[in-house]
């Protein structure tokens, strides 16, 4: 039975993680009779001091699926730390022997899925460094909205695309010598101007819940004279 390791790398701990939800959605489509499934939550791995144990799990994977949110146009620092430390502790000591397949699921708050491309390329570079085979990425724009409104009629097409993308991963992990598919780009089918407006309103509502006024969001604490 092949061993699939699912890595979720949202730095959030007490809130719902969209990256984890996407990962669980992908995991549910992978045949449990042919593949064993192990989950690593990078934030929990660090806070519970179980990095060594999780690095061992990671090093034994035959398939790795990494899901994370875009932070400043690339991987969040927490995932950078995990992969960098893994590389130093395992790869340099020559512990990697098997060729593994790697997939990336990256979501961002911006509506354009293309914004995630450089983050996917970083996972591809990481794969090359650990001598694994990077297969393809699923690039998701408007990630938080896609999950929050997944049952809304206007989201039906995007959710179908998500399902198809995760089915493509499930199919690809079963194949040997399968032609490498292109990355899959999925955005929300929603007017951009309205998306911007709703996003802005969401921040103002959240700030008000913390006792702030709209004008407080524009504070300039480090340059009071501007």
């Amino acid at each position: 039975m092949k061993n699939v390791v699912f890595v979720s790398a949202s730095p959030k701990i007490n809130e719902q993680s969209v990256s984890k939800e996407f990962l669980e959605m992908a995991a549910s489509l992978i045949n449990a009779t042919e593949f064993s499934k192990t989950f690593i939550d990078v934030r929990k791995s660090i806070s519970a001091h179980k990095l060594s144990e999780d690095f061992e799990t990671f090093s034994k994977a035959e398939v790795i699926i990494i899901s994370f949110p875009l932070y400043y146009f690339c991987m969040p620092g927490i995932l950078t730390r995990f992969l960098e430390d893994y590389y130093h502790s395992h790869t340099i000591s020559g512990n990697i022997s098997n060729k593994v397949k790697v997939y990336a699921i990256v979501n961002c708050g911006f509506p354009e899925p293309e914004t995630n491309l450089e983050a996917v390329r970083v996972i591809k570079s990481f794969s090359r460094h650990i001598k694994a085979e990077f297969r393809f990425g699923v690039l998701i724009g408007g990630g938080p909205m896609m999950f929050a409104a997944k049952n809304a009629p206007f989201m039906k097409k995007a959710v179908q695309k998500l399902n198809n993308a995760f089915l493509s991963i499930a199919e690809d992990i079963q194949q040997e010598n399968f032609a490498k598919p292109d990355h899959i780009y999925i955005g929300v089918n929603f007017p951009k101007r309205l998306y911007f407006f709703m996003g802005g309103r969401g921040w103002i509502t959240s700030a008000r819940k913390n006792g702030l006024q709209k004008k407080d969001l524009y504070k300039k604490p480090y340059r009071l004279n501007e």
Partner: protein
């Protein structure tokens, strides 16, 4: 004129020392007073995605560590130079944490860039000139290009330079640049 140099204390290699010495000397001859901040896992943690810097204490990170000092210095100097190891074609973890946690310096809203993509608008009227210098002992051409793309495809106001065998070419390029505070270009 004030300069801020941010580096990763986990990668104080010979290449780094040579780069740092050359850049420090360059800044001195240009009349800058330079502050050096060496970041590591023990003095600067990762961004936790809480958005407290937007909706609880706008403009300030709610985590109390070295980043408070960095954001304060960052917003009040004329030039910021990051010296970052190139790891898998992007920043090292310590430098990435610094980049992620500069989020308070932006506003939460969405705005369209000239190429049609979306970004967050600037919080301030002016920002320091920002330069990222990537270094490494054996970095592939693919990773070098990715290191440039990670920033340049999304942030037009930041310069990215790659260390190539000696510091000479970096200093030559720095000599052609104008330093000083500037408005943010989306």
């Amino acid at each position: 004129m004030k300069a801020l140099l941010i580096s990763d204390k986990q990668y104080l290699t010979k290449t780094y020392q040579s780069l740092k010495n050359s850049i420090e000397l360059f800044l001195k001859t240009k009349g800058f007073g330079t502050e050096i901040m060496e970041v590591g896992a023990e003095n600067l943690t990762f961004c936790k995605g809480c958005f407290g810097c937007w909706i609880k204490k706008p403009g300030e990170c709610v985590i109390n560590d070295m980043m408070t000092q960095i954001n304060q210095s960052f917003m009040n100097c004329d030039v910021v130079i990051y010296l970052s190891p190139i790891i898998f074609g992007q920043f090292s973890a310590n430098i990435k944490n610094t980049v992620d946690r500069s989020l308070p310096n932006m506003l939460p809203f969405f705005v369209k860039r000239p190429d049609g993509s979306t970004t967050h608008p600037p919080r301030y009227n002016t920002y320091p000139k920002q330069i990222i210098v990537g270094y490494g002992e054996t970095v592939s051409d693919e990773d070098k290009q990715l290191f440039i793309d990670v920033t340049k495809k999304h942030r037009r106001n930041i310069e990215v330079l790659i260390y190539q065998e000696t510091s000479e070419t970096i200093i030559k390029t720095l000599n052609t640049m104008e330093f000083g505070r500037m408005s943010d270009i989306l």
